[in-house]
């Protein structure tokens, strides 16, 4: 069995209304995929494809309507035991909304440490936060600052430090660089790659940017309107896309060709 198993997951959202019968919107239809340990699975899709819904189900903050997800042998759901959550973390799209503006960097990074009781005592926590900040290319005294004192790229580093703090095995990256400038994007993507090889992390990388996918992914799935329409290894998908939609996406992507 693979490290991450998504098995026949569907998700229906019910629009509740007082006066009309409830209508279901199917955001995901029987999505199955698996991710090997230490690899990056890129999920490509446009807005409304259901990729964020799948991310929320995979990290256990939303439940599937049917089907199941397991990571490292544990069943994933909103009611899963807290200790199983340690292995799963997430890095978000917005460097602004993903950090509570009222919290200092130290508290943001230390929150998972406290939640899982990873470090004992203030001193150990400070030391671990310092290590984490340095690991993502920030400095120890950045811990005292607030998020608004950092640039977008630096905030993404803070998010990554926070995600790493619970020593996860699996990280969902939800468009982690789509709000960043190109030169900063390269820094963050390289950091994620370095961390993957250093710590043996497994990534589910959600994006709409095919050039980013090309540099990050081992395996690629294309999601369209809740259906996984194509799944191939990275090399095969770019060389011979099977589905028309994938071909259209590749054709439309404004990728820089230097040659």
């Amino acid at each position: 069995m693979s490290f991450v198993e998504v098995d026949e997951v569907s998700r229906v959202f019910h629009k509740r209304s007082l006066f009309s019968k409830s209508q279901g919107v199917q955001a995901l239809k029987n999505v199955s995929l698996s991710i090997q340990q230490g690899e990056t699975y890129a999920l490509v899709g446009e807005s409304g494809s259901g990729k964020s819904t799948l991310a929320r189900i995979v990290v256990g903050v939303d439940n599937a309507s049917s089907g199941q997800v397991s990571i490292a042998g544990h069943q994933i759901s909103t009611s899963m035991p807290k200790e199983n959550r340690r292995d799963i973390q997430m890095v978000f799209q917005s460097p602004y909304a993903s950090l509570n503006p009222r919290w200092r960097v130290h508290d943001l990074v230390a929150e998972p440490l406290r939640a899982f009781g990873i470090t004992q005592g203030r001193k150990a926590t400070v030391q671990r936060v310092t290590e984490l900040l340095e690991q993502v290319g920030l400095q120890a005294d950045d811990a005292r600052k607030f998020p608004h004192q950092f640039s977008g790229g630096q905030r993404q580093r803070i998010s990554i430090a926070r995600a790493l703090s619970s020593n996860p095995k699996f990280i969902v990256c939800d468009e982690p660089t789509s709000a960043l400038d190109v030169s900063v994007q390269a820094q963050v993507l390289n950091l994620l790659k370095d961390l993957q090889s250093e710590l043996g992390l497994t990534y589910l990388f959600i994006t709409h940017d095919l050039a980013v996918v090309k540099t990050m992914a081992h395996q690629i799935g294309v999601l369209k309107q809740g259906v996984l329409i194509e799944e191939q290894s990275a090399d095969d998908l770019f060389a011979s896309p099977q589905h028309q939609y994938t071909k259209d996406l590749l054709a439309a992507a404004p990728v820089l060709s230097v040659a």
């Binding site: 790229g153 390269a186 820094q187 390289n190 095919l210 090309k214 540099t215 770019f238 404004p254």
Partner: protein, 311 residues
């Protein structure tokens, strides 16, 4: 004489932390029918340049020096005269340019009657024609903005921008909010419609891919300064400024794979409050010399670099 000439334009903001120079001696020209891209990181001054041309710098910001000329005539003093009629704009969020309470037709006809001699039936016919040009059925003139999808709305905004028959359209991140497949359609359409009318476009974006596919020339901005300008082909294939080189090298391409390490420029762009002496890029520059730390390089031979200005 070029269609639009910007000469030594500087914009400053006075705040309690002192005077911030948001644009520093920016000079560039735009020719008739040209697609000029403006690229740079957020805060580099690309949107500020667009806003300055349109006279949209609000206090505490101020144009402190320099001139902007449209067809040889200065437009710094009375930008209201040209805004909307000679120069139109397209923003990232199409809803900000559309009135939600009026039909698309009403908005188009209003703009046409305001800025062109067409009245009544003639204006109505022109509106229908514009709709056809943007690939939307003329029947939909009676629809409201909310009845369109995001991509369709941005098409309508293009029609609205064209309605006054402007010489220039300034498009500030027009497709950043759209999906990739829709982005290509919208930019192709913009290109097509503008070529047909000989309209020039200043396309402001942070996406090198968009620059590469849809512009003729590119200006690269860094920390409020224009540091390199040239044809798109030259800039992408043989950039000269070390920042431009870094920018191009750090853009992911289709040649990469999982084992590629992307080139990365060390550090971050300085905030306007802490721009270093000399060349603003010098602390991150791999080839900086003493002179770069002391003297601000001016744009010579289209590059603002002490070491790369010789052709």
């Amino acid at each position: 004489m070029s269609l639009l000439e910007i000469e030594d334009l500087s914009v400053e903001f006075t705040s309690r932390r002192g005077v911030l120079r948001a644009l520093d001696n920016v000079s560039l020209t735009l020719e008739a029918g040209e697609f000029l891209g403006m690229v740079g990181e957020s805060g580099a001054g690309k949107s500020m340049t667009g806003n300055a041309i349109l006279g949209l710098i609000d206090p505490p910001g101020k144009i402190v020096s320099g001139d902007i000329r449209l067809q040889g005539e200065s437009i710094v003093k009375n930008p209201e005269r040209i805004r909307g009629s000679h120069i139109s704009m397209i923003f990232q969020d199409p809803l900000s340019s559309l009135n939600p309470l009026k039909t698309i037709g009403a908005q188009l006809i209003e703009t046409i009657e305001l800025h062109t001699p067409r009245r009544g039936t003639a204006a109505r016919e022109r509106a229908a024609e514009l709709m056809t040009q943007i690939g939307v059925d003329a029947d939909r003139l009676s629809a409201y903005p909310h009845q369109f999808s995001g991509g369709m709305r941005q098409r309508v905004v293009i029609a609205l921008a064209m309605a006054s028959e402007p010489e220039i359209i300034i498009a500030d991140e027009p497709t950043t909010a759209l999906d990739v497949s829709v982005q290509a359609q919208v930019l192709d359409l913009l290109r097509e419609v503008c070529s047909a009318h000989g309209t020039s476009v200043i396309l402001i974006t942070h996406d090198m891919g968009v620059i590469g596919h849809w512009t003729d020339r590119v200006g690269v901005m860094y920390a409020g300064r224009l540091i390199e300008i040239g044809t798109t082909n030259d800039i992408i294939r043989s950039p000269r400024h070390p920042y431009t080189q870094g920018l191009i090298a750090s853009t992911p391409t289709m040649d990469a794979n999982v084992d590629t390490t992307l080139y990365q420029i060390p550090g971050n762009m300085p905030p306007l409050t802490a721009i270093p002496d000399g060349c603003a890029f010098n602390p991150r520059c791999p080839i900086a010399e003493d002179k770069c730390r002391e003297v601000i390089p001016h744009l010579i031979n289209d590059v603002a670099c002490h070491l790369r200005s010789e052709t």
